[in-house]
């Protein structure tokens, strides 16, 4: 039973395998058939017909060379590649028949790739062959357009020949070259070398493009070379002549040399134009233009310099007059102030120095005036010197202003200090009142001494500043010290009052520990003596502070905070 079943099973399996293999084979056959179909389509391609058409045209030269190369390509496809595909198809079919399905699959892929490659090559050859066929037609069309361009350029050259100056000959030569190229084109066309003809047309186009550049740029260059620059050179000569007539001289300006240089440049420009070397011609033209501009600028500067010099002469004469007058006024102010102030030696030196500086500058100016009497003067140089002189005078002016301010400052400072001294007196009275208001038992000798020292200082400074002749430098120093002393006294007073009031607060507070702490009584007694007999309020307060800190650590801080809040 089992054997039967096994047999039936094996049989079944074999049947299944048979059908599967059959199915696979059919599939490969189908693929091979499809590839074979594609191969047949390749053979049906119309290239043969095209090759025959071109051969009928009997083309020569470059066209022929190109055609032959394409024809060779086609032959290689037809004879080698297509037959290779055919062989592979046969091989693949054979493999399927022999159940070598794996190899069949590989061959099918190769065939497929080769078909694709051949198809692509055929398309390229086809396209190139079509281009060879069309070359002739295109050439004919293009040569017509080129001819038109040529005619336009030629016409332009003939009608505007005057605008091209020495370049005309070169341009006409260029036209001759183009005409010769046209002849070559026709020869090539006649010889059915359409590719060669096409190349000639391209070269004609390039020549015509060049011609267009010449025709557009040359007129301006020729104009510059023939008209504008020579006129500018003449104008430069005239301008220089005018300057000389005005009695001016230009520094380092050799007109003859400059003119020769320019003429040489112009000749070079002419040569470059003649040889149609546009790049060099443009460069040279710019160089000549820059040179001319520089020379004109120099002459113009010089031309205007004289007017500026004349204007500055007036300004400087006025400035010297003003400065001398101002210094004289300051000198008078000096004399006047000297009646009331001990003047700083430095200030006097400054005045003398200023007189000297002005004298030196005036001398410089005089030498310039002398130079100006000479007819052949370079005004721009004089103008520069006058500018420098004016700068020096500006510095002197600042010094004079500062000196004047310092003088005026004497009075201003004197008044300010006097006012401040009044304020200080008021402040002293206020401090006295402030202390009195607290009805303290007394004031320490140290404080009183300092208080009276400051009072005396104010008094002595008041006397010093009230004298007929005062030394503001010494007063200023003394005043600064006094200000510091005053500040110090205010601080001392604040501390004194604060300490006294705090002592009273501490004294009231500490009494609560009089019974419970044995040493409190003694501390209170000491502090009280310091307060009422020695007037050492800070020490009195410190003594109680220390004790309170010992008994109740945060009490001092709290009392102080309450005191300050109330103050």
């Amino acid at each position: 039973m089992n054997q039967e079943l096994l047999f039936i099973g094996i049989m079944g399996l074999l049947i299944v395998i048979y059908f599967i293999i059959k199915q696979l084979k059919n599939k490969h056959y189908a693929v091979i058939d499809s590839l074979d179909e594609k191969k047949s389509q390749l053979f049906e391609h119309t290239i043969d017909q095209q090759v025959l058409s071109i051969e009928d045209l009997q083309i020569t030269g470059e066209s022929e060379k190109k055609f032959l190369s394409l024809k060779e390509d086609w032959k290689r496809i037809e004879t080698v590649l297509l037959s290779q595909i055919e062989n592979s198809l046969y091989e693949a079919e054979k493999c399927v028949d022999q159940y070598r399905l794996k190899k069949a699959s590989r061959l099918e892929k190769e065939i497929k790739d080769n078909i694709e490659m051949v198809k692509k090559n055929l398309e390229e050859v086809d396209s190139d062959l079509q281009a060879v066929l069309k070359d002739h037609e295109n050439n004919l069309k293009e040569v017509k357009e080129t001819k038109n361009r040529y005619e336009t350029i030629r016409k332009n050259l003939l009608t505007n020949s005057f605008a091209y100056g020495e370049a005309l000959e070169g341009l006409e030569d260029q036209l001759t070259v183009i005409e010769k190229k046209f002849n070559s084109f026709y020869d090539a066309t006649e010889a059915r070398d359409y590719v060669g003809a096409k190349n000639i047309i391209t070269s004609i186009h390039n020549l015509l493009d060049e011609m267009n550049v010449y025709l557009s740029e040359l007129p301006e260059l020729v104009n510059l070379q023939e008209e504008i620059f020579p006129t500018d050179v003449d104008d430069l000569e005239n301008a220089y002549g005018k300057i000389q007539q005005k009695g001016c001289e230009v520094a380092d300006f050799d007109l003859k040399k400059i003119k020769n240089e320019l003429i040489k440049d112009l000749n070079d420009l002419e040569t470059e134009i003649k040889t149609l070397n546009l790049n060099n011609a443009n460069r040279l033209s710019e160089k000549i233009d820059t040179k001319l501009e520089t020379y004109f600028s120099i002459i113009e500067t010089e031309f205007r310099a004289k007017d500026k010099v004349i204007e500055k002469q007036t300004q400087l004469r006025q400035a010297f007059h003003y400065f001398e007058k101002r210094l004289h006024q300051i000198e008078l102010e000096f004399d006047r102030l000297e009646q009331n102030y001990v003047l700083d030696k430095q200030m006097k030196t400054e005045l003398t120095d200023l007189y000297e500086e002005i004298a030196i500058e005036k001398e410089t100016y005089q030498s310039i005036e002398d130079q100006l009497a000479d007819q052949t003067i370079i005004y721009s140089l004089i103008n520069d010197r006058l500018d420098s002189l004016m700068t020096s005078l500006e510095t002197i002016h600042k010094k004079i202003t500062k000196l004047n301010e310092n003088l005026l400052n004497l009075r201003t400072r004197e008044l300010a200090i006097k006012e401040d001294l009044k304020m200080m007196e008021t402040k002293m009275r206020e401090l006295k009142r402030k202390i009195e208001m607290h009805h303290l038992p007394g004031l320490s000798a140290e404080y009183l001494e300092y208080f009276f020292y400051v009072t005396d200082h104010i008094e002595s400074l008041k006397k010093e500043i009230g004298q007929l002749k005062i030394d503001m430098k010494s007063i200023g120093k003394s005043y600064q010290f006094l200000k510091e002393d005053m500040k110090d006294l205010e601080e001392k007073t604040e501390i004194l009052i604060e300490s006294a009031l705090l002592t009273e607060q501490y004294m009231q507070y500490i009494r609560r520990y009089q019974e419970s702490n044995e040493t409190v009584e003694e501390v209170m007694e000491k502090s009280y003596i310091l307060f009422t007999e020695e007037y050492e309020y800070t020490r009195a307060a410190t003594l109680l502070e220390e004790k309170l800190e010992e008994i109740e650590s945060d009490s001092v801080k709290r009392i102080k905070e309450e005191f300050l809040a109330k103050a």
Binding site: T426, E430, R433, H438, Q505, Q508, Y509
Partner: protein
Amino acid sequence: MIQNQILASLDIGTTSIKVIIAEILNGKMNIIGVGSEKSKGVSKGIIIDIDETVEAIKNAVAQAEAKANVKVEQVIVGVPANQLVIEPRHASIKISNENNEISEEHIINVLEKLTQNINDVDHSVYGILPEEFIVDGFDEIKDPRGMVGINLDLEAFVLSGPKTILHNIKKCVERSGLKISDLVIQPLASASVALSEGEKSFGAVLVDVGGGQTTVAAIHDGKLKYSFVDQEGGDFITRDISIVLNTTMDQAEKIKREHGYAFTDLTSADKTFKVKTVGNKDPEIIDEKYLSEIIEARVAQIFETTKDELDTIGALDLPGGIILTGGGSSIPGLTDLAEEIFETAAKIYIPDFMGVRYPSFTNAVGLVNYAYKQDEIQNFINRGTLGLNNKVVNVKKQREQNLDDDKDNQHDLSRKKENETSWFSKIKEFFISFFD
């Protein structure tokens, strides 16, 4: 005289209400707490708004208590001398008990007789200052209690004044939660500290320049013989400055304090200061002489009025001269002007106690001083006359109690925590026992 105790005084002034807590220790008075609050409900020395005054009293008391660490329960209160009548009176009674011994009851009876016809609808007794008790013709007896006799006579000065003043003071003090331990006429209180024993004995005039009024008192033979109140004080000077210089009251008070002189001769027109005036951006420069003229005008007017009054009783002939005190007396030059006007020697009294070194505190300090120095019979008379119920507070006991309070406060939290713990323990115990 009271020994070793803590006393508190209350001075209800026009400008400020002051409270002083002092301890009397071994016969020495020490200030241990001071409270001062701006007065709002008082005008010209008289209470016009009870609520405002109560509020200020409470604040001043709280300040003083905080500083002294003492709880104030009763205060010695100053009574202004407005419309005060000082009347010498005589009264006589028969001692009718079995052994003819003079008891406190007899003293009360003689006092009642002395003050007969004084207490009426708008007038009441402020105090009695006994000159002497006479027992059966024996005079100059200070305290007759325990003596034997048939006739008891009393020669005394009876001080009386408007009922309203006293009523309002009592009302304010009570509503502040305090009791009145003593009522003292202010000039008497001030004189107790401002005048030396010699001045009190030979005679002197005390001029208390307050904020709203000036109280003048003539003291002779240690007794208040005459009192007069001029309803002008330091605030009037401030107001004058404010009006004349066109500045605010605060600014006027400041310049009075910092630059003011009451006597023009002491000033110079060269000494100037700046004053911010109302409506002007920049301050004006004022010289001290000008300011002094403003102040002098008002002070001179007060002194002239006072002089006229004092001249009527010849008080200016008293050898002690003039003693100036009060907040308004702080202005420099006041003594010079006083001497010129009163044509007698003048000086200023400033309390010489720690923490109250200002003449504005003379009254408050004087109240304590007067109260602790008055003798037992005077104390008894005051209690009897004014219906007071004062008690003596022992210093040591009070201080120990307060220190204990302090400690209690410090340990408040821990105690609270302990309480919380015990409460928790109780619940815990309850549950344990319940389940047991």
